[in-house]
Symmetry: D2
Subunit: 138 residues, 4 copies
């Protein structure tokens, strides 16, 4: 990963995130990753509730590949590293790594696209695209 472009979010594991095996429930990593993408976008002034009001667009997840590399437990402090690995006006692909200190816990590739007000697939707004494209080249 090119560290310049990578966004970091730290997340604490609470009881709500764990299951009866004493480990983080597998779908919760998708929640963590979504929080990280949200904060990544917010760091470029792209609040999703604002985008919806202003442009009538919402981002939705189209594809996820997730590799569960190791386990995380109650009270663990995780760090999520997020970057955009591919961007065009039809979709963007996020690469996300979840770490527990130096150990990789999970690895995600998340393809996101846009829907319009009628929940039909739409192209990304020019301004959003320009903002994200600029950060990608920084």
């Amino acid at each position: 990963m090119d560290l310049k472009k990578v966004h970091h979010l730290s997340i604490r594991v609470y009881y709500e995130d764990t299951d009866a095996e004493g480990i983080v429930y597998h779908s919760k990593y998708l929640n963590f990753a979504e929080r990280a993408r949200t904060e990544f976008l917010r760091s470029y002034n792209l609040d999703q509730s604002t985008i919806e009001k202003k442009y009538g667009l919402i981002f939705v997840v189209k594809l996820i590949n997730i590799d569960y590399v190791s386990i995380a437990c109650l009270d663990d402090y995780l760090c999520i590293k997020t970057k955009i690995s591919k961007l065009n006006k039809v979709k963007m692909i996020f690469s996300q790594l979840i770490y527990k200190r130096k150990n990789l816990v999970a690895k995600l590739e998340v393809t996101v696209c846009c829907l319009d007000k009628n929940r039909k697939v739409a192209r990304m707004n020019n301004q959003i695209y320009a903002t994200l494209n600029k950060q990608e080249r920084e």
Copy 2:
């Protein structure tokens, strides 16, 4: 409880419902109870998505008292008994009991009121009220 009026819903406990202590996470009983109230209403043809489209009203929870009497675990099969214990056009109060076979697991009192399209407190629609009031007196 007057058994004539009581609605029953059975629910299986999955990994997603448990936490690192090996028991059902405490907030999940509110989810279970909401599923039961939804099915209770559906049994009177009161689908919440239909009510919203037709009358512009949504039901929201105003107050909850919950007493956690005993624990439930992975793979347990729970039964939720739901009845309306008080009803007027401003609010309805549900009494809900969650059982694991013959053992009481949790006891809830849930006060529900209506919001209109602008998310302001509203009186219940006459037709909804009549339907619920009729069932209450049955």
Copy 3:
């Protein structure tokens, strides 16, 4: 899919499953799919809480690929079709399709492996393997 081997589970979408876009939150499909795999295993008398007590083994998700084909909403009634597409003593791969009536909503490939009591990767127990292998060839 070879229909003989496919397990079906129906699931109702409740408020807890939806998000502010009015659609099912993307990580919830992983929960639905896990419920379906659990019932699939239970239909072969492979309750996960029993397997853990008896053999000291737990099943954990290693990899997931999920393709979100269309959206689902509040009150929708979904059907999950589950089958094992690959099985050996190190892992099993589940193919899962989530339908809303005749429309495909999501498509998952889920690789599951075993951990022992110390949360180390383990081979599947012979009896579990035989049970699953038998069903696969039925």
Copy 4:
């Protein structure tokens, strides 16, 4: 509230916390409140995973009263104020207020007690009690 003793935790509302009405799903406030109690305890070096390993005790919720005063939405930034309003060796009662800027969103009273390794009700450990009692009188 006596401000000296009150613990503050800030929480961002993400998509996972909202439902199809565009508001925070009612059971999620219990999750938020549990995160706040966890951080309150951690601020007195009372990590729950450590307490379980060291003393064989877990804290469980016995009773909750929650009053939903107003709604919260996607991207809202909430502040949870937590204090212990009653403490003895059998139970502790937390008073928790959830704010969205100056507006009260929800008000909780949460009674917590201890379970031992066999999941039986137990008295609080002397050291934990002393630590909490000291803070209460500070």
